[in-house]
């Protein structure tokens, strides 16, 4: 559905102060003198009860526009359109009971037709694909500029100043259109001011929690995530086979194995690292407190999969041996237990792209974790931890990071010559709501730190290795676009690593 022109509305915020329930009509399908419902007016809709007539005779048939009317209760003296304001549509209006009042032709602005008494009606086109960008300055003028007309029976009222909406109102009424208008601009900008390939600045703080073995707080824009890592000792029974714990992708053996590991929190891989995400923390009005919903569960599973795909933690470093002296590693040292890592991610504030923030928090928290030295005490037959000696976790040297993109498809318009798509790097929640297609890339690039600055390691041949790609929803993204996204992912990874360096958690 395509309708016309720009939206310009001044003083509508005041007008909408009289706001009442909203009704919608489809206009543009019926003929001039069609009187299907027999109420005497020329439109096909049954609006006799409301006393409203909207006749779309002037509309180009290919342009159906959707009108939103506010306050369907006209004043008692129904001088139609009795206090109606029309915005930005190519419409001819025929009043219901006064055929002698000239229909008002609207071009790109609306005209004040007749203003009597209190303001009752505001119409505005909701869908519009005009290429012109709505002005980003709020245009607001007080009600007093809309002077009432005493009698407009004989002559047409003088053209009134156009009504304009404030941009925040436009954004609330029609978020999709608002976003599209911004992206159709050249160069395309997003409502938050970033360019499509620009991601948000983020801050990282580690080791701020006293009881956790490792912690990190990541803030990217308004998305804030806290990750805490605790190690718990897992003693293995004498009959247990330790190799079950030591591989990230142990092959399935039997149904009972799968069942048992499903029972223990679903950790079917390795089982030593357990991830958990909490979103129902009042972080966003969309996720009220209560049991985890779909997004929290999906995110939990995705992060668990990421930890196992990337194999960040070296599982043999989690072993607890049966020996007194740690410097003596005999091959016969018996494994008495393992450190089991519990990764808890808590979302404090949610403004889109929680996956990237959560994963980065996990990587930083693992990097900053320090576990006490644990050893098996033979006399007491228990594992003892030496709280004076701490050692960091043994992790991978090249750290992988995720980058998420959202795809917005722009509608067909003459200027574009066909629908195009825009990929937005690091979407916030407003953009996430409008997009239905998402791409996440987990990639690693080997960087070398030269004089405090990052440069690509020449040994790796400037290659970025991809470890996971997930694309879901929609059908518009092409394989070539995925390649360009990988390059953006590399630059984002560089920023992550620089931030880690600042926290003195250098990867090298």
């Amino acid at each position: 559905m395509v309708s016309s022109s720009r939206i310009q509305c001044k003083g509508a915020a005041d007008a909408l102060g009289y706001c009442h329930p909203v009704r919608r009509w489809w206009v543009g399908d019926d003929d001039d003198d069609d009187d299907d419902d027999g109420d005497g007016d020329g439109d096909g809709d049954d609006e006799g009860k409301e006393g409203v007539a909207v006749n779309a005779s002037g509309v180009d048939k290919s342009h159906a526009c959707e009108l939103v009317a506010i306050s369907p209760y006209p004043t008692a003296e129904a001088t139609w359109p009795s206090s109606a304001f029309l915005l930005g549509s190519d419409l001819k209006l025929k009043p219901k009971s006064k055929p002698d009042v000239e229909p008002c032709k609207q071009t790109t602005h609306f005209q004040m037709l007749h203003f009597e008494g209190s303001l009752d009606w505001v119409f505005l086109p909701v869908l519009s694909t005009s290429a012109s960008l709505v002005s980003t300055k709020p245009l607001f003028s007080p009600m007093s500029s809309l002077t009432p007309q005493v009698d407009s029976g004989e002559s047409l009222p003088p053209p009134p100043p156009p009504l304009t909406f404030s941009t925040s109102l436009f954004r609330q009424i029609s978020p999709a259109l608002y976003l599209q208008r911004h992206l159709l601009h050249s160069p395309p900008t997003r409502p938050n001011g970033r360019s499509p390939s620009q991601c948000r600045d983020f801050t990282l703080t580690t080791n701020s929690l006293s009881h956790a073995h490792g912690s990190a707080v990541v803030r990217a824009g308004d998305t804030a995530v806290v990750c805490g890592i605790r190690g718990e000792v897992l003693t293995i029974a004498p009959g247990d086979d330790p190799s079950r714990f030591e591989s990230y992708h142990s092959s399935p053996t039997s149904a009972t194995h799968a069942c048992g590991s499903r029972g223990a929190g679903g950790a079917s891989w390795g089982g030593l690292i357990v991830t958990n995400v909490e979103l129902s923390t009042g972080c966003s009005k969309k996720y009220p407190l209560g049991p985890p919903g779909g997004l929290a569960q999906t995110l939990s599973d995705q992060l668990h999969e990421l930890v196992n795909v990337t194999k960040l933690v070296s599982l043999d470093s989690l072993r607890i041996y049966d020996r007194e002296d740690y410097s003596d590693v005999t091959p016969n040292a018996k494994i008495k237990g393992y450190w089991s890592l519990y990764i808890d991610v808590l979302c404090i504030s949610l403004d889109g792209n929680i996956l990237d923030a959560a994963w980065y928090a996990i990587v930083a928290a693992l990097k900053s974790s320090r576990l006490p030295l644990a050893s098996w005490n033979q006399t007491e037959e228990r594992v003892f931890c030496d709280s004076s000696l701490y050692h960091p976790l043994s992790l991978r040297r090249s750290l992988p990071f995720t980058t998420t993109f959202a795809l917005i498809s722009l509608p067909h318009s003459d200027d574009n010559g066909g629908g195009t798509t825009v990929l937005l790097n690091d979407p916030d929640s407003y953009e996430e709501d409008e997009a239905c297609e998402f791409l996440t890339i987990l990639s690693t690039t080997d960087f070398e730190i030269v004089e405090g600055e990052l440069s690509r390691s020449p040994l790796a041949g400037l290659r970025t290795r991809v470890e996971k790609i997930e694309k879901r929803g929609g059908c518009k993204i092409g394989l070539r676009q995925i390649e360009s996204c990988t390059h953006q992912a590399t630059s984002k990874a560089a920023r992550y690593i620089q931030s880690l360096m600042k926290e003195q958690l250098t990867p090298i």
Partner: protein, 260 residues
Amino acid sequence: MTSSPLVPEISLNPLPQSDGSCQYTCPTSRTTILTSVNGPLEVRPKDELPNHATIEVIVKPGIGVAGVRETRLSSLIHSTLKSLILTNHHPRTLIQVVAQIVQAEDHTSLPLLLTPLLNCTILSLLIAGIPMRTVGWSVHLAVLQHPPKTVKTAEGQVFRLGRGGEDEMETEESEQIVVRNPNGEILGQAESSHTVTFSKEGEVLLIESMECSQGSGGQSADGQGWDISDFLRLAEEGKRICCEEGVEIIREALADRKVF
């Protein structure tokens, strides 16, 4: 065609009471899925969308109760179906898809389950007569370093994909060994697993690719990962499989049915 080892065993409308159903068994991984589609149905007011039909996908596991893994599978299938089903044909209704995992080698492995789930769901949507924009098909590819050891593979299941690059020579090392629809054992030996779903027109609907090599992690996992150009070549091959063979499989399966 029906006796070819690569063609899945499809049984249409095994559940007579539902609007559309399908049972799908992958011949090589022996994963069996049963899906049932009902709709357009009456929808709960809180789920109602004014201009579109609401799609609800429920995945039921073979063992135990549904957990986070099943929720994730449902959300992946839901996002794929949203771009296939013409939801504005039946606004304010519900299209409900229930998928039951009947048999799987590993009930917890996402890659082994995703492809059969998607294919089975698409077939049952066609049977149910839900208006769709186009059809799609999914295939699961696993990339191995060496040809699979001690596992029997079907004819045509394993193929080699040249890495390409600056030199024209395709030596043994420069080729990737790709297995189509692997079973659990082959997947255990694989370096990476790729589930790709394409529509008939070649649009990308879903990609779930991940690194899945064995190991105990830490520094030994430092060199893992694949190059993006290798991935694109693999995806192109997947596209060919989905658009040609996948669509052919759908046509054959539906060819006998004159009345749905």
